[in-house]
């Protein structure tokens, strides 16, 4: 029987066209970039039984398994089931057919830095949040990149995503424990934003400069600084690489709680649906917003979000990037 493949269908099944006509390549999602080591055996087994015996580690913390003959997709989909059952079902993702492989690939794997399970700097459990985001947005065909990172060090490069979630520590001071050692003020000045100054031999935080990194908590020798156990996030949006206008994401929200983050992410899909250029095979969210306008996007994604303090919403987005198109600059 001749090879007759519905390309759009296989793409949504997480397979891709490759440079070898007879072969495809499977994308495996690992939400939050953390998995039980035994699942590596499943990946290995798929690569060795159906692929060319190699595995590519993707920048988004998934796997790509290359060298799979097109004819074996149905078998591969069955072999993928343990991964779905271990990595997706426990998050609350539902499947019509667990033997049918991945039901979507447009919205990419939710990647995460290692988070506070390991890293002292992280302000929350990034893997767990990535899992809750996965449950909110997967499967979806629109091309959306989301990553979560524990602190403003941004090790996951949240600034290169459509949506980057950065942990913020709402620090609180027990002034009666401050001994005026200046450890927090010195550290904040040298390594962060200089948000802490000394007044009457006690540390004072300027909330307009504080970015919620939580380092004052780390360096304080008396425990005078501590984090509000409630979790807050900064959301940076519309960062991208690409061939037209690479740019860093710009801050959209500060001091957002998890519900706000999830609501904005859910809302973005209706905006995309209303404004995407369907003449293109796919269009990145940032370019859709460039065309449809920032006020329209802002209004759409904030639907149903209560704007109570401490939440702060950007009035404008300040991007730093550049355009490849020479004629914009050189005439």
């Amino acid at each position: 029987m001749p090879r007759d493949i519905v390309r759009k269908k296989i793409t949504k099944n997480a397979y891709r066209i490759t440079s070898k006509r007879a072969e495809t390549c499977l994308r495996v999602r690992v939400p939050g970039g953390h998995l039980d080591a035994c699942l590596l055996d499943v990946v290995r087994s798929i690569a060795e039984r159906f692929g060319d015996g190699t595995v590519h580690l993707t920048t988004r913390q998934g796997f790509e398994i290359p060298g799979i003959p097109w004819e074996r997709m149905a078998e591969v989909n069955k072999a993928v089931r343990p991964l779905l059952e271990a990595l997706e079902v426990p998050l609350g993702v539902t499947f019509v057919d667990l033997d049918g492989g991945y039901p979507g690939a447009g919205t990419r794997n939710i990647s995460a830095c290692i988070g506070n399970r390991v890293c002292p700097f992280a302000n929350y459990d990034t893997t767990a949040l990535a899992g809750r985001i996965e449950a909110a947005v997967f499967p979806h065909d629109f091309h959306v990149k989301i990553a979560v990172t524990g602190c403003p060090n941004d090790c996951i490069k949240a600034h290169m995503q459509d949506f980057g979630i950065i942990g913020q520590a709402m620090v609180e001071q027990d002034a009666s424990r401050c001994i005026g050692c200046e450890a927090c003020a010195k550290n904040c000045l040298k390594r962060v934003t200089g948000a802490i100054s000394m007044k009457n031999n006690r540390a004072v935080r300027d909330p307009r400069r504080c970015i919620g990194c939580g380092e004052c908590v780390l360096v304080c020798p008396t425990g005078a600084w501590s984090r509000d156990p409630r979790k807050y996030f900064r959301m940076v949006i519309l960062g991208r690489t690409g061939k037209k206008n690479p740019r860093m994401a710009a801050t959209f929200l500060e001091w957002a709680d998890e519900e706000v983050v999830l609501t904005v992410l859910r809302n973005c899909y209706a905006f995309i649906d209303a404004h995407i250029d369907r003449s293109l095979p796919k269009e990145h969210l940032g370019y859709i917003v460039d065309r449809a306008g920032w006020p329209a996007f802002r209004e759409a994604v904030l639907q149903g979000v209560s704007l109570d303090p401490p939440l702060r919403v950007a009035e404008t987005l300040e991007f730093s990037g550049y355009f490849y198109e020479r004629d914009r600059v050189f005439r």
Partner: protein, 372 residues
């Protein structure tokens, strides 16, 4: 009210959680109660807890199974306190100095009771003047010992840094009662039979008697202070190369000082109020020999700029200088400095290093400058 128990073998009781709360209600008529408490989510790292001293009202608030990161010294010697307020018209001292108030019942471990003994030496027995602020609290303190058990507190968690047996502080005295956390409530031992008056009627008489740690997880060889003095005179100890390791290892954050039950250094400063610069207050705050500015002098001179020199100074104070003056080591082996150091410097290991230099000096007549 129960009749007073007779001999020491009959002073053990079991209290359920409910009767512990009844006991604490009775205590609170006469005492404010301070114990390790767990502050959820308030630890150094996110989603970790802080265990430190706080005033408690009920049994559930106490954290008796973990060693507190900070010592009970802050009940007697708070990190920051106002010594007096001043204005043009005079000085006003805090009510602490004027009123007796309730007693302070402090739940603490044997090493911590030794720690308070060291604070007593500094604040009450070091020269002709007693520190009135310390004394005002100290005279109201009653100790309730938290039992660590014969295996050390390892039965109750991550206590691998303790070396109380090596420091001879594994046994304590001067406490009124002993507590051991149980699955439901406490085992209680009345060292002071007068405290039977506080027992709830449903306290069950048991054969419980407290036991003490008999062995350290990692025993520390503590040098004889006299041998140390000789090694200092013979110039082998201060010149030992290992101190220089701490020049680069220590980051001078001061956590070893703040968590230590015996670090008692403080500094004072005056604050004048912005609205009225002729009124203000004098505060004293903890100071630490590892922290910058500890040795700042008028004119800008600083002793011990190098962190290794600060480590040496602290070590000498903890296991030598204090001993010469007061006849016991200042360090009580609680291991909190080892728990708190972000650079994983072990003070216990430092004491061992000192022992090796002192031993080498003794065996070579003091010429071995390279001993580690």
């Amino acid at each position: 009210m129960r009749p007073m128990p007779g001999n020491a073998a009959e002073r053990g009781y079991a209290l359920s959680e409910v009767s512990c709360d009844a006991l604490l209600r009775e205590f609170r008529k006469d005492f404010r109660i301070f114990a390790p408490v767990r502050l959820e989510g308030r630890g150094r790292f996110s989603d970790t807890d802080m265990v430190r001293y706080g005033e408690i009202r009920n049994f559930r608030e106490m954290e008796l199974r973990e060693k507190s990161l900070f010592s009970p010294k802050e009940v007697l010697f708070p990190p920051s306190e106002t010594l007096f307020h001043f204005a043009e018209t005079g000085v006003r001292e805090p009510s602490l100095l004027r009123e007796d108030g309730k007693g302070l019942l402090v739940l603490l471990r044997a090493c911590d009771i030794a720690g308070v003994d060291r604070l007593d030496a500094i604040f009450l027995g070091n020269g002709p003047e007693k520190d009135p602020y310390y004394e005002a609290r100290r005279k109201r303190v009653v100790f309730a010992l938290i039992e660590c058990g014969p295996l050390g507190a390892s039965r109750s968690g991550s206590f691998g840094s303790c070396f109380c047996v090596s420091m001879g502080t594994n046994r304590a005295s001067g406490y009124a009662l002993v507590l051991r956390p149980e699955d439901d409530g406490l085992s209680l031992f009345l060292e002071d039979p007068a405290f039977a008056a506080y027992l709830p009627p449903d306290a069950v008489r048991t054969s419980y008697a407290p036991s003490f740690p008999l062995e350290d997880p990692f025993p520390v060889r503590v040098p004889d202070p006299g041998d140390m003095s000789r090694a200092v005179r013979e110039e082998s100890l201060f010149s030992a190369a290992f101190w220089k390791d701490y020049d680069s290892r220590c980051i001078a954050c001061g956590r070893c000082n703040t968590v230590c039950p015996t670090c008692s250094c403080f500094t004072t400063y005056d604050v004048t109020y912005e609205e009225n610069a002729s009124a203000g207050e004098r505060r004293r705050v903890w100071a630490g020999c590892h922290v910058d500015r500890f040795t700042d002098m008028a004119g800008g001179h600083r002793f011990r700029e190098k962190y290794g020199a600060r480590m040496r100074f602290k070590t000498m104070h903890k296991i030598h200088d204090f001993h010469l003056r007061f006849g016991r080591h200042m360090c009580v082996g609680c291991g909190r400095c080892d728990d708190a150091c972000p650079e994983y410097i072990s003070f216990a290991a430092c004491i061992d290093r000192v022992s090796r230099v002192v031993d080498a000096a003794a065996s070579t007549g003091g010429d071995d400058h390279d001993a580690r």
